[in-house]
Symmetry: C2
Amino acid sequence: MNPLALFSAVTVEQVKEILKKHLEGYKPEIEEANLLQAYNRVLAEDIVSPEDIPAFNRSTVDGFAVRARDTFGASESMPALLTLVGEIRMGEQTEIKLSTGEAAKIPTGGMLPECSDAVVMLEYTQLMDDTILCAEKPVAPKENVVEKGEDIKKGSVVLKKGHTLRPQDLGALAAVGIDRIKLVKPPAVSVISTGDEIKPPASSVKPGEVRDINTYAICGEVMKWGGLPLPQGIVRDNFEDLYDAVKAALEKSHMVLLSGGSSVGARDHTVKVIESLGKPGVLAHGLPVKPGKPTVVAVVDGKPIIGLPGHPVSAMVIFEILVRPIISTMLGRPEDFGGTRVYARMSRNIASAAGRQDFIRVKLEQRGEELWAVPVLGKSGLISNMVESHGLARIPSEKQGVAEGELVEVEIY
Amino acid sequence: MNPLALFSAVTVEQVKEILKKHLEGYKPEIEEANLLQAYNRVLAEDIVSPEDIPAFNRSTVDGFAVRARDTFGASESMPALLTLVGEIRMGEQTEIKLSTGEAAKIPTGGMLPECSDAVVMLEYTQLMDDTILCAEKPVAPKENVVEKGEDIKKGSVVLKKGHTLRPQDLGALAAVGIDRIKLVKPPAVSVISTGDEIKPPASSVKPGEVRDINTYAICGEVMKWGGLPLPQGIVRDNFEDLYDAVKAALEKSHMVLLSGGSSVGARDHTVKVIESLGKPGVLAHGLPVKPGKPTVVAVVDGKPIIGLPGHPVSAMVIFEILVRPIISTMLGRPEDFGGTRVYARMSRNIASAAGRQDFIRVKLEQRGEELWAVPVLGKSGLISNMVESHGLARIPSEKQGVAEGELVEVEIY
């Protein structure tokens, strides 16, 4: 066993650091995809714009392209009189070149003719006849114009490797002419439920037996955070079955999550199986987190194996603070990607032990301008608690509880 | 034209109300799926638990099942002496029935034997020999026990129709023995880009032409909010082409989104095409929103047709405030589902006109305990603005701007 495993009071931050070191050699697989398939996926490359966007000086209004200085001082009673020399059509390069005192009709999105630097809006103009235009308001140079390269400069980095693509990012990629991109493949995460008493949801259960909750909650979490879940079913609680299952899972995935086995005997199996599968083996056994203490953290041949607690709520808390950052790191995302964290006032006093991080399931309530976190009470083994609450309030390990009205950080599900 | 369309100053709330009335007859399609395919999907039925969960009184710790009153007054110096009558195995119904002064060994998750009502943790016990157990701490009735039905009661509604399934919800469904469920099918949303100057991203563009940004940004938004995007490509800006495209799109989808055509002429085409396709036709033309004014809102044969502005940023703002609530309503979700709204202090004075909702693109900055919204400046046609910002701050129509330090509502992307 790794010497570190002896310290059961090792902090979560230390465990994450060590895990990250072991993952330094991890190279995610890359795939190419069309832009329309890329929503919510992670970029595997920096995107540099091959062009200026827009590629030409563009009008942002319907009106008349002018030389701004020809309109200086214009007013309703004293309009600037300009000679209309033509009309610019949408999507066409114009041959028009303005001389002093000239104007050309232009639609929103149209390309400014040479030697014009501003657009007078239609509303502030009057046509005297076919060729004489009155501009009743002055425009400043560049007014109502987006200049060439003003949106995105040629050679600039539009989006960085590791960025998760939002709708506007797909738009920006289309704008610069890129419709196929390299994406990070989601890491494959095997999910194994263990326990002789665990039965699939579709089966009827005898007294003493319970249904497999964790496969479904944990596979859901893996999907939510960008991984590819590989559910491996339920494995009985003995060395041989667990060994075979974890070995097979290691071969086909980038990470293995076990859950169940909160009893002492079951956790011993997990530790023994991991130790016989390879190096470095178990890194930590027991974490100073409530709920979530009975956690086993291991790496075998560069692949993380996490033994989650059997209680669904505890398993989900450990997923949140430990597994989710690993998946993000494997995807090349920032470790804290996607978390929606808000500050809220705790609605009642909550005690906690120093040296231990506590996670309290809370409902959020907006009271006037303030957000309040109302703890959802009940034992930590209850899945209904997770269903009823909106997020987890964290009490950091250096604190001994929080007082009513104190601000706490809440991670929203 | 519908009389309502004459009021171009109609509020967004009024438009939404009218749209919702037209959607009252909309019946979403339903499909059945396995639990593992249901993450982030919408339930099409109430789920009532057919069983009590847990189905038996269950221990939450490793220890000894007892009759609580037998331990009252126990201490380290004066332990309660109990007779060990057996061991309960995981996943098995036990035949043991405790009499006064008796105890049975029990693992975490084990089923309490008849006539026991609490569990003494292993840590607070000592075995004198094979049959005599010392309990060094008293337990209250129900201590370290989850009672039958305490998590989920038989006959109670576990999750309601219209609920969007989170990981913990999948767990709760598994817990009550349900692994196939009825889900709402995503509404099909056709996305059409219009404009003679618009070219696909993969093509090279000549001066005056621009690439199709909106198909990608808007399809991304449709996916994000639970719809099925059907990109219909780019349609040229004339009555015949637009008519054919919108007619075909109406036939195969539940909603049609057009974008482009911010110039006056192009918007007139959109209105004429919609009016010739059916009733009631155009409901509003022009919205008191900035950016986003040149919006056309229509319904034909019960299906919404929204003419979004051509500027990508304006199109995304209108999507956010108008299209997203429609998709949510079609899915049976609450209209404001999934929005992450925070309150932040505006970092500078921002002017706005009364009677108009303004949406300011902002970056969020945590400064100490306070969240600040820093406006991302620049013209509204720039996609780079959307890429750089974190969300939209809303200035309600009854206000004339916000002052530096004032709290604003920010919808995070």
